[in-house]
């Protein structure tokens, strides 16, 4: 594997070495709606319309920009890449949806380790330790959460589960929808620590919140 190729390189070099983690912009100059996410740290992109967030997430998840747009991930223009390199780029990005996006037939613990088990050999003791560490970093007691099925979880617990699931995979870029709606002050405090905990566990990675309104979250 060519480690110099931006599509497959997954080292988290300092932000100065890679200026932009993601660029999504119209091909024609002067058109509005461009999104640029600088690499490293927690970022909050305010003022995006729901439509634009949805289009951006679709483009990133499919590694395929809409017609007339250009998607650049970690310095690589995806239009110039083949399917394998696009897949390698996609593996470095995770999306944290506001609903959690959990599977209803699996409990929280199974939901957390599912992608890990599907993508690489699963080391269960290590995964269990990592899950407890992640929750500990967020100052959230694991308690009964890990045994709960999504049907008996609150929205906050679903978001927590999805967040830990993402942390276990250690992506280079996390795109998060606005998570604050419907949470109480204490829960909002925990959610506000997401970028900080992510940065501690994935140094050099980028945590971007795509939101029209995101109180308390600013560039770190």
């Amino acid at each position: 594997m060519n480690r110099e190729d931006p599509a497959v390189r997954s080292d988290r070099s300092p932000p100065t070495a890679r200026l932009l983690a993601l660029v999504y912009e119209p091909v024609s100059e002067g058109a509005e709606g461009a999104v640029r996410i600088p690499a490293g740290g927690g970022r909050c992109l305010e003022g995006l319309s729901e439509f634009r967030v949805s289009r951006l997430l679709s483009a990133v998840l499919d590694v395929m920009p809409e017609i007339g747009w250009r998607l650049v991930l970690f310095g690589a223009d995806v239009d110039a890449l083949g399917p394998e390199k696009r897949e390698a780029l996609r593996a470095r990005v995770a999306v944290l949806p506001s609903t959690g996006g959990l599977l209803s037939s699996l409990n929280a613990w199974e939901n957390m380790v599912l992608p890990l088990g599907m993508h690489r050999p699963l080391d269960l003791p290590r995964a269990t330790r990592d899950i407890h560490d992640c929750l500990g970093d967020l100052r959230v007691p694991a308690g009964e959460l890990l045994k709960k099925l999504p049907e008996s979880m609150s929205r906050y617990e679903k978001i927590l589960t999805a967040y830990v699931r993402i942390l276990l995979e250690q992506p280079d870029l996390v795109l998060s929808e606005n998570l604050h709606q419907g949470l109480d002050a204490q829960q909002r405090d925990v959610v506000a620590r997401f970028p900080e905990v992510y940065e501690a566990r994935c140094p050099g990675g980028t945590f971007a919140i795509l939101s029209a309104v995101a109180p308390g979250w600013r560039d770190s």
Binding site: P97, G101, S104, S105, L114, G117, M118, H119, L122
Partner: protein, 258 residues
């Protein structure tokens, strides 16, 4: 017509994908899903299957003895030809369609509509790897196991009834049975039931993943499509198998010119 062709093509593509991706069964989440499916289809359905199998076996033999005024040899031949080769796999397949086919189609349709299938894609997990492969393999293996239960119970029940109704002992009937039965009968029914199970699971997974709409009303429609088409396909496969292996279909009404 175009819709039927699309569904047929989709199912064929899904079957080819499952065959190509059997290796994913080694992944822990997929093997766990396989175990759950085998437990649901093959183990937890056993009691009902055993009762129905015994009922059907004894019913057939009762009719044969009563209507045809049969002797022991004819009763045993009927058990092998009808119960072992045809009715056993068919009854197991119909019960799997009723119980697991509807459950699979409904579950997958609900997952598709509620966005859980999209969540899997978001996690870079191909829904076919996690949802379809373990269900197809699990239902195929379970159908073979259930067929075996039905055959044992139906043949055992049939022989017991024959021993009680005819002037012959159970040991004599059993001796005659083992003399007439051949390994081909077992291999034939095992292969047939594996095919039935795989076909049922593929159709139910296909319709579950392609519900005819995005509202909750699409869920029962997907289940209905899955069940009706699975039943038809099982009947068709049964006829093809009977014709290919024994040169006859529809219990001898159609005979091959060999």
């Amino acid at each position: 017509m175009i819709g039927v062709y699309r569904e047929f093509e989709g199912c064929m593509r899904l079957a080819a994908y499952v065959l190509r991706r059997l290796g994913v069964l080694a992944l822990p989440p997929v093997s766990e899903a396989l175990t759950r499916q085998i437990y649901f289809t093959g183990a937890s359905a056993t009691t009902g299957m055993v009762l129905r199998g015994a009922f059907i076996g004894t019913l057939i033999i009762a009719y044969v003895i009563d209507v045809l005024d049969a002797n022991a040899a004819l009763a045993v031949k009927m058990l092998i030809w009808v119960v072992l080769r045809e009715i056993g796999p068919l009854i197991a397949a119909v019960l799997v369609i009723q119980r697991s086919g509807t459950a699979v189609a409904t579950e997958l349709a609900l997952m598709q509509i509620s966005g859980e299938v999209a969540s899997l894609r978001r996690m870079r997990i191909d829904p076919r790897d996690y949802l379809v492969v373990p269900r197809v393999v699990g239902i195929a293996l379970s159908t073979a196991a259930l067929t075996f239960y039905v055959q044992v119970i139906a043949v055992g029940g049939g022989m017991l009834l024959s021993a009680l109704s005819l002037d012959t002992s159970l040991a004599e009937l059993a001796g005659e049975f083992f003399q007439l039965v051949s390994p081909v009968d077992f291999v034939y029914s095992v292969i047939k039931s594996l095919m039935f199970g795989a076909a049922i699971a593929l159709l139910c997974c296909y319709h579950g993943l392609h519900p005819p709409g995005t509202s909750i009303n699409a869920v029962p429609k997907a289940a209905i499509n899955a069940v009706t088409q699975s039943t038809l396909l099982v009947m068709l496969l049964n006829v093809i198998f009977a014709y290919l292996v024994f040169g006859q279909a529809f219990f001898g009404l159609v005979t091959a010119k060999l």
